[in-house]
């Protein structure tokens, strides 16, 4: 047992002090030391011994006593020992300062330490150990540069000073100069091979930092060999083990950690790692305990940050986002640079996202991305955040990057796809398909939502069969299979009851009785609805209807299904049922704007104007005026009203038009791309005569409307055609009407045929006009107006043919035929008028009949005349032929004569010549007498008439146009009335023409006078009335009005078609679900808007 001997002053005796039996009270020893004036090195030895035994108080007491003022004076010449005591105290306080966690005390300790070292320096400026101590102190305070200077001072004096070398190594290490640090450690080891394990520990860390894992490993192992209880080496080895990322390695690592923990339970590093481990094993209680301990024992920023992170993670995984967020925050606060420890930023971002703090989440994830620019998860999360912030472009960029970095990340492709749906369906489809392929390859179940989305995109791209397959795949097996494959037969129902088949759910009860399983899981409702919608598009209306009813059978609140059923019923003209179905929908939600809009539409179709207006108003109010459809419908309503009231009240008309315009404009302001509003505005403009502007509008709308399966806008084609027509460009108008008919109506719309006929009529293409009308009659047999029009067309044709200066007999004959047909048509109408099939005035028809008959007689005369003429022509031709024959004969005779000349000489020559001359004379005579002189005069007279008539026609044009503002059927009638009047005049002319041979000139004059008078009257009348030009331009009005109505029918289909589009959007993919939902909803809105836009 070691002991020290304190020499007794002034004697040879010594007091033996056994070091392991030092008194508890240091004062005893101190007394001896002081009393015997023991050398200072003994003081130091005893103090050190106390320190080793952990009796810090005694240690401090002795040293403080040993550095007191008296001692300084007494031992003034013992410099080294005094310095050593001071340095020991400095080191002691340095250590206290280093381990102290409270900032104020820490400072205090450091100040103390500094005080002692300075005192030591005052004794000897050049004492290396003081400098080393100062260096350590500075190191502890984190002042690396100064610490390094201190060590350098020592090393300049003695380049093998181990302590300085170690200090320098430490400085270099902290500066991140690992190789320099390593060099210093190595040097220290060379100089002093038996130095403690700590040196090797330092080397291990250096190796580790430099990435030489194996060497690091060896270094730590060596430390452990030297000191099996070295916690730091254990922890370091454990970390190395853990980092192997293999099960065995991790187990070894955890074991080492536990050992370290047992040796020294307050090593924060070990605690953190253990906590980390228990986090992954799910023992959250342990995690919290360990980390809390770690937090209590360490003051080291990164370690604390790690601890907080562990805690936060634990709470995060338990769903306590508030607490988690606080701890993540604490963790982040401990970090200087995100690149040091980035995980808490990620966690904080996630939690903030959960708590809805998108802005901060964004900045946190951005920080993560800075550190790991290629991290897919971060890219995806940021992508989602940008979507929520509406920065789609940025989001797309990030997600695209994510998919590029990891082309096997199905989720990234899904996210990308969802993002692209609203902007680029093609790219979205590609993304979804890739995701689909990846999921399939990975043997994973493809989520129903994904299939649904793919199906919807196919649907939009009009790849209907592919869409069908996809929806079927999404739906899998179920009762719907039976309907799709036609296995479940419908049951016969009473025909009267069948009217309401679309409401009938009896079918499903029956199926249940027949032991079918009628089930519909909630997640399959949307795909099923979309499938039904698709079937509708593919015209399998019946199956679609059954599927909608199936949805309603299970989910009676599914408003859209009611509306689709109502739309089907409406398409089949079953208005009553349609209204009932819409009312069912309104029972579920009496504020549903779509249902209200549809109801309004149906009411309009039922001619319930006031009710319809109320309903549209309600629809508009239900959406705070944000629903474009309702506003548009109101606009249309006003437009119709304007057209309707026109005859009765011009003021009202203007008001209504103004109102309509205002409403259209309001929609356009909200949604600048609203096709239907643009169309409406175009109509109002056309109504006011601004044809060029409206034409531009229509053309643009037409362009925009082409290319989407969900936008069907025949109206704009018709409106465009109307404008061409109004501008007199008949050829283009015809083409436009025909294209529209073929493209949208399967050539079955008699109304457009009527427009077409009207254009032909204006262009004086009578045959085309008639044929078109006959087609229209064939399509709409009960529309007697068409028959009337056909009659008028034929009458007009006949009249115009008879006016022609040149006409063939065939023409005149066909004229007669046409007139006969016209007479028959008019007589039929007249005969059936008493049955009240149509609203014609019988008298008027009779006038037509009379007139046609009259014309017919005239035509017959013409025909006779023409036939006569033809006969004469034939005679003339005959004569010519004979002449030719004679010529031929003469030529032949000539030849013969020449031939005979040689033989017969001159004898017969004279005779024959005379004969021939005689014959020739005769022929001439005959020819002269057969040319009727009257013909020419006849013709010139006709010319006169032609002139008069054409003048009249012009006039008539003006007259006609004025009437055209009224509703179409109305207009047709008016027009014919006008026609008839004109024709009557013509009739007179004709009469004159044909009958009056003698008083021709007189009559002509008279006629002209009459015409002039009439002209004047017309002019006066025109002047008295409104500007005739404006009226001219108002021409397309009636037509458009009807179109508008037709259009509003198609409209609410559009409204409903919005559904399948939005539905993909309703469904969401797995991660970040809530926030996704929001994103989606936004997109949905936009999408919806887009659709609404399309509507208009």
């Amino acid at each position: 047992m070691a002991s020290v001997y304190i020499p007794v002053q002034n004697s040879e005796e010594e007091v033996r002090v056994a070091l392991d039996q030092l008194p508890r009270d240091a004062s005893d020893i101190l007394d001896i030391l002081k009393a015997e004036q023991a050398p200072l090195d003994l003081w130091l030895i005893i103090a050190r011994e106390y320190f080793k035994q952990g009796k810090l108080e005694q240690f401090r007491q002795i040293l403080e006593e040993g550095s007191s003022h008296e001692i300084d004076e007494y031992y003034a010449d013992v410099r080294y020992e005094r310095i050593a005591i001071l340095n020991a105290l400095g080191a002691y306080y340095s250590y206290l300062g280093k381990i102290e966690t409270k900032q104020r005390e820490k400072e205090e300790y450091f100040i103390q330490a500094t005080k002692y070292y300075n005192k030591a320096s005052r004794i000897d400026m050049h004492e290396p150990s003081t400098w080393v101590g100062k260096g350590q102190l500075l190191l502890a305070k984190g002042e690396l540069e100064q610490a390094s200077n201190a060590f350098k001072i020592v090393l300049e004096g003695d380049r093998d000073n181990v302590s300085a070398l170690l200090g320098q190594a430490c400085v270099e290490y902290n500066r991140g100069h690992y190789s320099d640090s390593l060099a210093s450690y190595k040097r220290a080891l060379q100089v002093y091979p038996n130095c403690p394990g700590a040196v090797r520990l330092g080397m291990g860390h250096c190796y580790y930092k430099m990435g030489h894992t194996k060497k690091a490993w060896q270094a730590f192992e060596r430390v452990l060999q030297l000191d099996p209880e070295n916690v730091e080496a254990l922890v370091a080895l454990a970390i190395l083990d853990l980092q192997t990322n293999e099960a065995a390695g991790i187990r070894r690592g955890v074991e080492k950690m536990q050992k370290a923990f047992e040796i020294y339970p307050y090593c924060a590093m070990a605690l953190n790692y253990l906590a980390n481990h228990f986090f992954f094993t799910g023992q959250h209680f342990l995690v919290e305990q360990l980390t809390e301990t770690a937090l209590a024992v360490t003051n080291h920023g990164p370690t604390k940050s790690h601890s907080y992170y562990n805690l936060a993670r634990s709470y995060h995984s338990k769903g306590d986002y508030e607490t988690a967020s606080r701890y993540y925050w604490a963790s982040v606060k401990e970090i200087n640079k995100p690149s040091d420890f980035v995980f808490p930023y990620y966690g904080l971002g996630q939690v903030q996202l959960k708590l809805g703090d998108i802005k901060n989440a964004l900045s946190n994830f951005e920080k993560v991305l800075e550190v790991y620019p290629d991290n897919c998860e971060t890219l995806k999360v940021l992508g989602h955040i940008y979507v929520q912030l509406g920065q789609t472009e940025k989001s797309l960029e990030l997600l695209r990057k994510a998919t590029k970095i990891d082309p096997r990340d199905a989720q990234a492709f899904l996210d990308l796809g969802e993002l692209l749906i609203s902007s680029d369906t093609g790219a979205a489809l590609d993304a979804f398909k890739t995701a689909y392929g990846l999921l399939k390859k990975g043997g994973q179940q493809v989520p129903i939502e994904v299939l649904n989305n793919i199906g919807v995109i196919y649907f939009e791209r009009e790849e209907l069969t592919l869409a069908l397959e996809t929806f079927k795949e999404a739906l899998g097996d179920g009762i719907w299979r039976a309907f799709l494959d036609g296995q479940a037969k419908t049951y016969a129902v009473d025909a009267a009851a069948s009217i309401f088949q679309y409401k009938d759910v009896q079918l499903f009860h029956r199926l249940q009785e027949d032991s079918f399983v009628v089930e519909l899981p909630w997640d399959k409702v949307t795909p099923l609805f979309n499938l039904a919608r698709l079937l509708e598009q593919m015209h399998s209306t019946e199956t679609a209807s059954v599927l909608y009813r199936l949805i309603l059978f299970k989910y009676p609140d599914y408003v859209d299904a009611y509306l689709r059923l109502a739309a089907i019923a409406k398409a089949r003209n079953n208005l009553q049922l349609s209204i009932e179905l819409v009312n069912e929908a309104l029972k579920v939600n009496d504020k549903c704007p779509n249902a209200l809009s549809m109801l309004g539409d149906l009411e309009l179709k039922n001619d319930e104007w006031v009710k319809a207006k109320e309903t549209f108003r309600a629809a508009s109010e239900a959406t705070d005026g944000k629903d474009s459809y309702a506003i548009l419908a109101l606009g249309n309503w006003n437009y119709f009203a304007a057209i309707r009231n026109e005859k009765r009240n011009p003021k009202l008309e203007a008001t209504h038009l103004e109102k309509a315009k205002e409403l259209y404009t309001r929609v356009l302001v909200q949604h600048t791309a609203n096709l239907y509003a643009a169309n409406g505005a175009g109509v109002v403009l056309a109504e006011k005569g601004h044809f060029d502007v409206s034409k531009d509008l229509f053309t643009q709308v037409q362009e925009a409307a082409s290319g989407s399966i969900f936008v069907q806008m025949p109206d704009v084609w018709i409106n465009l055609a109307h404008v061409y027509f109004a501008q007199g460009n008949f050829a283009l108008a015809v083409k436009m009407y025909q294209n529209c008919l073929r493209k949208f109506y399967n050539n079955t719309d008699s109304q457009i045929l009527l427009y077409l006929a009207r254009t032909h009529y204006e262009a004086e293409q009578w045959q085309e006009c008639k044929k078109t009308l006959l087609r229209a009659i064939h399509l709409a047999p009960s529309n007697y107006i068409l028959r009337f029009d056909a009659g008028v067309a034929m009458q007009k044709f006949s009249a115009s043919t008879l006016q022609k200066t040149k006409r063939t007999v065939d023409e005149v004959r066909s004229t007669v035929d046409e007139l006969e047909n016209a007479v028959r048509l008019f007589s039929q109408l007249s005969a059936s008028s008493n049955l009240q099939f149509h609203g014609f005035d019988e008298k008027k028809i009779n006038t037509h009949v009379e007139y046609c008959k009259h014309l017919l007689e005239a035509a017959k005369v013409h025909r006779e005349a023409a036939e006569r003429e033809e006969q004469q022509n034939r005679q003339r031709q005959e004569v010519a032929r004979q002449m030719a024959l004679a010529e031929e004969a003469r030529r032949k005779a000539e030849e013969q004569r020449k031939f005979q000349l040689e033989r017969r000489k001159q004898e017969d020559e004279l005779k024959r010549v005379r004969q021939q001359e005689e014959h020739f004379e005769r022929v001439k005579e005959q020819w002269k007498s057969s040319t009727p002189g009257s013909k020419r005069r006849d013709r010139s007279e006709m010319d006169d008439d032609e002139g008069a008539n054409s003048e009249k026609r012009r006039r008539k044009g003006g007259k006609k146009r004025r009437k055209e503002k009224s509703s179409k059927s109305h207009y047709e009638m008016e027009e014919t009335e006008a026609d008839m009047m004109d024709d009557q005049e013509e009739l007179e002319d004709e009469d004159v023409n044909v009958n009056d041979g003698e008083h021709r000139n007189q009559r002509n004059d008279h006629d002209e006078n009459e015409n002039a008078e009439e002209n004047a009257q017309e002019l006066l009348a025109a002047a008295g009335l409104e500007d005739s030009d404006a009226e001219d331009e108002a021409k397309p009005a009636p037509a458009t009005s009807r179109r508008r109505r037709a259009w509003s029918e198609s409209d609410d289909e559009e409204v409903l078609e919005r559904k399948p589009q939005s539905s993909p959007v309703q469904e969401n993919s797995t991660e970040l679900q809530e926030s996704d939902g929001e994103i989606r909803e936004d997109v949905d809105k936009q999408h919806g808007d887009a659709v609404v836009d399309d509507e208009d």
Binding site: A495, H539, E542, T543
Partner: protein, 321 residues
């Protein structure tokens, strides 16, 4: 059960072809196809080459309907001017000209025994029955107008009769109207029996099943074909699939299929067991106004034939097997 195209004649007429029917075979010649067109002619075609046998003129305005007597000797054609011309198929000699003003003429059909010609009377809301021996009007079967305080013109025009069909036993007659209702008559008693409801758009074509006198098929502008039990007043099924108006329907002689022609330019073949379309022919370029199965009979003619005519001026012949 399938259709295979045999022959198509482009520009078979100068204008849209609106009507088609088969004239049954006689001892001296096979069955012929009779077509009527907007070009005011009626033409006779000999299968399978669709050789043009003859062109009949004499109609004014378009020919909207043709009908053949079950004997195959006489036939009738009707045009928009509301005349019905009855003629000898082989000689084109006119036999009679029928008109019943103010009633117009739409579809026509001879009864299975050949004693009566039924003509859909359009706005007169009635079916006119003509005796084929005397060519006298023997009856006018009126569709009862809906009861109401005042029969406005709007309502009455809805009962406009477009189509007729005889039941195979000749006891019943069905007619279809613009408003979609189908009326069934007891011919013997000249009595209206009941309406068959379900359509709300014009019913342009009707046909009874040749094997079941209760079963009636209807084609409507609502793009649906309905199958009714005409006696039991019940609808058996509704078949959808056409994208446009269904303009014409005919039942195959074996009663197991029907064919339809539509404004969507297609001809569809429907399997009545599956109650679904089994084939779609899209060879026409415009509305298909008529489809007609060739009636069985004639020397050595077993094969089933279907003819279709279209607004694109063409006629097509298919093998049905």
């Amino acid at each position: 059960m399938k259709l295979a195209g045999l022959k198509s004649i482009e520009n078979a007429h100068d204008e849209s072809v609106w009507a088609a029917t088969w004239v049954p075979a006689t001892t001296s010649r096979p069955a012929l196809l009779l077509t009527g067109s907007l070009d005011e002619t009626v033409k006779l075609w000999k299968p399978d080459e669709l050789h043009l046998e003859r062109t009949n003129t004499g109609h004014c305005l378009g020919v909207v309907a043709v009908a053949a007597h079950p004997s195959g000797i006489i036939a009738a054609s009707a045009s928009l001017d509301s005349f019905v011309r009855v003629f000898d198929v082989d000689t084109n000699a006119s036999i009679a000209t029928l008109e019943a003003p103010p009633s117009e003429v739409w579809q026509m059909q001879f009864d299975p025994k050949g004693t009566t010609l039924a003509v859909a009377g359009g706005g007169s809301a009635s079916v006119k029955l003509w005796d084929t021996a005397t060519w006298k009007l023997i009856a006018s079967l009126s569709v009862p107008r809906p009861e109401g305080p005042k029969p406005s013109d709007k309502n009455s025009s809805k009962k406009f009769v477009l189509s007729v069909s005889w039941s195979p036993d000749g006891r019943r007659l069905a007619c279809g109207s613009m408003d979609g209702t189908i009326s069934v008559f007891d011919v013997a008693r000249a009595k209206f029996l009941h309406h068959l409801e379900g359509h709300f758009m014009p019913v342009r074509s009707l046909v009874y099943s040749p094997i079941d006198p209760r079963v009636l098929f209807s084609a409507s502008d609502d793009a649906h074909v309905h199958m009714y039990d005409a006696e039991g007043k019940s609808m058996i099924t509704a078949m959808s699939g056409h994208a446009g108006w269904v303009l014409s329907v005919d039942a195959s002689p074996d009663g197991s299929a029907i064919a339809t022609g539509s404004s969507d330019r297609t001809v569809r073949l429907w399997d009545l067991n599956m109650r679904a379309a089994v084939q779609t022919m899209s060879n026409h370029a415009d509305q298909v106004w008529g489809v007609a199965f060739r009636p069985p009979g004639g020397t050595g003619v077993r094969a089933g034939r279907l003819a279709s005519v279209s607004d694109d001026k063409s006629i097509s012949l298919y093998d049905y097997s």
